[in-house]
């Protein structure tokens, strides 16, 4: 049984798949988006007694529906209304990736930003102040991560669990989304 659905969104090559695999392990299934030839990956994981379904959205640079992938990602966020969007962003190309983040935030969906590939950003000598960034984005959680080395993912799991917990408490009657 699925208690909550969360969506993974991000630019192509931002490391979304790595995060997806790390979260769901072997519990994933691959299909197609209804009526589309684009691959749809879903998976599950349990945390603190919650069953959480993860949907991996196609990698896109924007949500402006210029392409099939963008259309799919946008429709899912706006119409299927996942409880939470996990926005995986490439820290080494922050400016390009944050454009999508702004569009996701504009939909009004609760969002967590995972700043992935912090090692690459470090190699370029970039220092990113995640605290400041969180403030700049209105206080949403910003996690720094190196998904390929499994860094920052525990923090992500914890934040998802906290969120789900809070959501459960806010809506004691229901809980299924």
């Amino acid at each position: 049984m699925t208690d909550f659905t969360i969506a993974l969104a991000g630019n192509p090559n931002a490391g979304k798949s790595t995060v997806f695999n790390a979260l769901t392990g072997s519990r994933q299934y691959v299909g197609n988006w209804p009526g589309k030839t684009v691959e749809k990956k879903e998976g599950n994981f349990k945390y603190n007694g919650f069953n959480i379904k993860v949907v991996d959205l196609p990698g896109t640079y924007s949500l402006s529906a210029y392409s099939l992938e963008e259309q799919i990602a946008r429709d899912f966020i706006v119409k299927e209304k996942p409880a939470l969007v996990v926005n995986v962003a490439d820290a080494a190309n922050l400016e390009r990736n944050l454009y999508l983040t702004m569009q996701i935030l504009e939909t009004g969906t609760p969002t967590v930003v995972v700043l992935n590939m912090m090692d690459m950003a470090g190699h370029r000598g970039f220092q990113i102040d995640t605290q400041k960034m969180s403030e700049g984005l209105g206080g949403i959680p910003v996690i720094s991560a190196i998904a390929s080395r499994n860094q920052g993912l525990d923090e992500l799991r914890q934040i998802i669990a906290d969120f789900v917990q809070a959501k459960q408490e806010a809506q004691p009657a229901g809980g299924i989304l």
């Binding site: 640079y61 924007s62 210029y66 190309n93 922050l94 400016e95 390009r96 454009y99």
Partner: protein
């Protein structure tokens, strides 16, 4: 921000390199590419890669030693850098 890209290209005396433009405007190179794609979609910049592909004529097979005369398939064609030019200069 977006407008500045077009202005800088217009101002440039000669070809302008993408890296230089990114540095000049203080925009990350990959973000600049995204903005350029925005203008390409709006039809204000012309992307050389899209242009030549559209024009490749595969009907004539005599040219260039029997392979497609189009710029993509002739074995003598070189991989040329991608260019973007202002669409407003497209007269005639």
């Amino acid at each position: 921000m977006l407008q500045q890209i077009l202005l800088e290209i217009e101002k440039a005396q000669g070809p302008l390199d993408l890296n230089n433009l990114a540095r000049k405007l203080g925009i990350e190179r990959s973000a600049l590419e995204g903005m350029i794609q925005f203008w390409v979609r709006k039809g204000r910049l012309k992307d050389s890669e899209l242009e030549t592909e559209l024009n490749c004529d595969t009907s004539d097979s005599t040219a260039c030693g029997g392979s497609c005369p189009g710029p993509q398939n002739c074995s003598f064609v070189m991989t040329m850098p991608r260019t973007y030019s202002l669409a407003s200069y497209d007269s005639e």
